[in-house]
């Protein structure tokens, strides 16, 4: 069951339950008292959880004098944009942003195409050695990225990738997770639909592109979102692959590699650029929350 549909179902249940409690007087009262407590708990937890992000925002718009003065300053008392302007002027922050965008976009395109195609083969095509192959691919999911960073580094030099963004894009696109998600989705497509396309003379690829894909917009959304966010935030391998050249840095590498060293006692600057890095994914999350949550829940629950 997908989580979003679970949410929807529970929303319906909720309205039913509240109608019932309205009818029964005494029960409603005890329920209400309990409800107040639970609501208070939920509000407190949410405030605690949101506070660090609020603090990032506050810090980003506060002057250094306020941040490093004694006492608590819970909001920007002297609003400033210098935390954004100064690092952008002194470091190639916009170039980092561009690199992050290019790497995340290209990785997403390659990953999603590869995973969709493979997922379709495993779901709908018959061929010898399907199950052993599936198991081999499965087992690669257990290989931690960090266990192979040294040979990957040597490999990217040998293939002439080192020194450009493809040294990140290609290894990061070698993932299998989406194959499973895609396969689950494709299995649900009725065989008759594919047969009909084949009778009309469409080949496998044609069937896939013009019949299957249009039915799979939620799958495309989930895969694209999860891959893009993962790559936008990627750190371990890009750190190894891009460290040689500041012009190739992504935002996470730039923050850790340059800004953290430069602004050890001026955290407003670091928070401002961190905010710049965080904002796009937060916006994506809010806009496409449904797909995001569903994708994560599906990766865990059959």
């Amino acid at each position: 069951m997908s989580l979003t549909s679970a949410f929807e179902v529970s929303a319906i249940e909720t309205t039913k339950v509240s109608k019932v409690t309205e009818v029964t007087g005494p029960r409603r009262k005890s329920h209400g008292k309990f409800l107040g407590l639970r609501l208070a708990a939920a509000i407190i937890i949410s405030l605690v959880m949101f506070f660090p992000l609020y603090w990032m925002i506050t810090t980003a718009f506060s002057t250094r004098a306020d941040l490093y003065a004694p006492g608590l300053h819970l909001w920007p008392e002297h609003f400033t944009l210098s935390n954004f302007i100064d690092p952008i002027v002194r470091f190639p922050v916009l170039k980092w942003f561009q690199n992050s965008l290019a790497i995340a976009t290209l990785t997403t395109v390659i990953t999603v195409i590869c995973n969709l195609l493979a997922g379709y083969a495993f779901a709908k095509l018959k061929f010898r050695g399907k199950n052993p192959l599936f198991l081999v691919l499965l087992s690669t999911m257990m290989i931690p990225a960090q266990a192979i960073m040294v040979p990957q580094f040597k490999l990217s030099i040998a293939l002439g990738l080192y020194g450009n963004i493809w040294s990140v894009i290609l290894p990061e696109s070698a993932v299998i997770f989406g194959v499973f998600l895609a396969r689950q989705f494709f299995i649900a497509i009725p065989e008759e639909l594919l047969e009909a396309a084949r009778v009309d003379g469409a080949g496998h690829l044609r069937t896939f592109v013009s019949v299957v894909l249009p039915l799979c917009k939620p799958l495309l959304a989930v895969l694209t979102l999860l891959t893009f966010m993962g790559e936008w935030n990627a750190f371990g391998w890009p750190l190894v692959a891009l460290s040689g050249d500041p012009a190739l840095f992504t935002l996470p590498i730039g923050i850790v590699g340059d800004l953290q060293g430069q602004y050890t006692s001026n955290y407003g600057r670091i928070m401002a650029i961190s905010l710049l890095m965080t904002l796009p994914v937060v916006i994506l999350f809010i806009a496409f929350q449904k797909y995001f949550v569903e994708g994560l829940a599906r990766s865990g629950i059959k």
Binding site: K130, Q146, L155, G300
Partner: protein
Amino acid sequence: MTKTEADRASPVTTRVSARSASAPASGSRGVLRRVNASAAGMFLLPNIVMIAVFTLLPLVFAFVISFQNLDSLGEWTWVGFGNYVKLVTDPVFWQSMTNTGIFTLFTVPVGMILGLGIAVLLNGVLPGRTLFRSIIFLPLVVSGVATGVLGAWMFDQSNGFINRILGSVGIGPTAWQSDGFWAMASIILVTLWQRVGFDMLIYLAGLQGVDPSVQEAATVDGATGWQRFRLVTFPLLGPSTFFLLIMNMIYSFQVFDTVWAMTRGGPGFSTTTVVSYAYRTSFDEHGPQLLGYGAAVGVAIYLITLAITAIQWRFSSSRDQTD
């Protein structure tokens, strides 16, 4: 590679999928089968080439390089088990293993208990429930680096928010950065903040699968709220608990970006996790270092991950039998 790390280590799902992989009906004719096979090759090729070149090949070479004395200039000699002997006698490696163990021991169960509590709280009737869920989930989309630098700033010893607020209620400054114990505590707290939404999400999905009539039956039998939870709901959440245990263990065992951005493994080596150590030995800000030894640390990480997964398979198959 934050997302993919979690994905690569998702044995529970994948087992389920593997089982149903054999499901599609056969009954194919020879011609169709041949057409299908060439089509299948075409569909599979891109993904298989990527995995073979950028994952399987490096894995093989990780083992090969771990038997070499490969330095930053590319010079190398065979050293047999030399790197592994060095590994087991390296106090910093063992310290990083201990650190990772402590980190895992605190982040995994505490995160799951908190996540379960929040899931139960937000599963019932509550106005604004969806908003609460979103807020608790939000840190999960924030990158490890942003979380790490934010943590470093909030736990800053002299100017950070945490010490300021503790100071305002009369608690003296805590040495979050200069004392190894408190530094470890701070990375655990930050990780809990970041990860609890995931535990909540999986438990919420699990709670949706709990049949309300079972709860009602327990109520009729006179069970109190706590008894209902302990004796009915929690056992029914077994699969979610199990899944989270494995996912979180692998995540915590392989943690890198948050910790590296927050403490660089310091002070000293007190927050150096095993993956940070692998990075630190193989590379640093100046480029490649002891690559042969780093590869050996990587192989050790791989073998330990395999062991965790093997234990999971064993336990889950024995659980399946008792079901």
